[in-house]
């Protein structure tokens, strides 16, 4: 049941560099009540595309569900979920 252990996932979303797309993407985090810590928007290196990065503290199933919600959004090019660091051990450090 390791899938259900809360961990820190870094989610990187490559999306169109348009305010309406950014608005929609951030809106999904709010609307789906996603437990997010830290949110950053950077140029992606490709013209017309930005990278939205955030840290999600949730189990792997929730992280995957969040990724799927982004995946189907118009203007989103790709979604990568990194990590899965154990939050408990992180807290001990």
């Amino acid at each position: 049941m390791t899938l259900l252990v809360p961990r820190a996932h870094t989610v990187a979303v490559l999306l169109d560099d348009a305010l309406v797309t950014l608005n929609r993407a951030v809106g999904v985090l709010r609307r789906r009540n996603v437990p997010v810590e830290g949110l950053a928007l950077h140029p992606s290196g490709t013209a017309g595309l930005s990278r939205l990065t955030f840290v999600l503290k949730a189990d792997a199933v929730t992280a995957d569900r969040v990724a799927q919600q982004f995946q189907k959004m118009t203007g989103v090019r790709s979604v990568m979920v990194h990590g899965g660091e154990d939050i408990t051990s992180e807290a001990k450090q």
């Binding site: 169109d16 608005n23 809106g27 569900r65 799927q68 959004m73 118009t74 989103v76």
Partner: protein
Amino acid sequence: MAEILTGAEILCRTLVEGGVEVIFGYPGGAIMPFYHALPDHPRLRHVLVRHEQAAAHAADGYARASGRVGVCVATSGPGATNLVTGLAAAHMDSSPVVAITGQVSRAMIGRDAFQETDIIGITLPITKQNYLVQDVTELADVVRDALAVAIEGRPGPVLIDVPKDVQNQKAEWKQSQPPRIPRARARDQSPGSIDDGIRRAARLIAGADRPLLMVGHGVILAQAYAEVRALAEKTGIPVVTTLLGISAFPEGHPLHLGMPGMHGEVHVNRAIQHADVIIGIGLRFDDRVTGNTASFARQARVVHIDLDRAEIGKNVAVDVGIVGDAREITRRLLAAVEPRRCERWLEHIHGFTRPPAASPHGLSPEAILSAICEASEARCTIVSDVGQHQMWVAKLYPYRRPNTHITSGGLGAMGFAVPAAMGVHLARPDDTVWAISGDGGFQMNMAEIATMVQERLSVKMAVFNNGYLGMVRQWQQFFHGKRYSCTPIWSPDYLKLAEAYGIPGYRVTDPSELTDAVGEANAAPGPAVVEFMIEEEANVYPMIPPGGSLSEPIEAEPAPAPAAG
């Protein structure tokens, strides 16, 4: 020679090019250039509603009944915000609607101009896509894109906001030229993974003692009726249809059990709770279907087939998820399963069946619905509103033809039935269309009778009048110590209302009057209203309390509980 058109003309022309025939709308300041151009495009029939909410519901009803995109139009500000409930309903029930709104001129945007509102911002969470058109040269491709986005994949509403000066701007008309606006696409499941899912699903079906098919709206959207029926008949697996899945499988078929969930029959919910394999096709395991998910189908391995990958595992844990079109996947699953029977399991389920609940006194919902079915010789589409009557319609009406039950399931928007039925009528002019409402929901949008009269839309309106907001009253009775706070509702004299609109009106107080009144209303050439005086405190049974387990229904009036503090 290049043809120069205004934005408004381009809007009309791209709608015609996209095959749009009917538009539900209401003019206003910021959309006037569009209305100025509209008469030059007689292929676009415009239906003037009495409130923009009705335009959105009517476009939704048209879309659900026709399988094509429904279009609604409104002006900026209040016109646009009035569309919101209808767009949210279409979004929750995956209905392809395109809304076109006027916006204040570009130079005024952001200045809180008269009738300015950020409709893009307002509708972001309830649309599949929306566009603010900043340049007339983009307009044609935006409309083409919107019409495609609304209906492709999992359908949904799309909004196009067009500033007034863009509607007046001129540009060269260009024929449709792919590619459309490039768009990221959700990654589909890999073919290998789908094959694997189908093999695993077939193995689960072969090894199951108590398998169950749960069929939702996705089957209607994909028109997978024949495939689902063939799968059920080949394997003998009993079928339950969710509220929006009703009419996807013939009622009265020996394998059809009924509707699950909060107001599902006891044997249907017991079948779910005892199943060892559930094959869900095109449903999202909504909370009204599952009750408390912690106690939902705890013995079952779940196979979930859905077009939207984000639905797989969203509400309930899934053992096998298959992403794809319900028709295509069911056809392949049908080929992969071995014939089998489930007679002992069916007997087991029928052992849970309760005798039919005693009919309420006087005029019963069963008698009313059966009179409507007989009068229309089952050649009718039922559009229901939201509340007690909606559950009676879902549970009691004997649907024989696919996609003949249309209701606001996900959003549960009261006031839906009357305007949505106008759209259904235009999509299916040869069908009789009955809009069935309670006295609460009917009063929300009854102004649309004027639209029906002016536009010659033949909709038969049934009003189940119990003098209460019945479903809320039922909850107050069960869970709030019978404290009927603000649920008694007065109605006008619907016979006089009908007379005021110049249409036939009937009031039925006794079962002996049913056949004549319903028959005459059904046969009348245009719209008609029939008011049914039903028992004031009739309840919908059984009922799973909100958040409760499917295993613990309320089957009769509970002992009065102390009033909630």
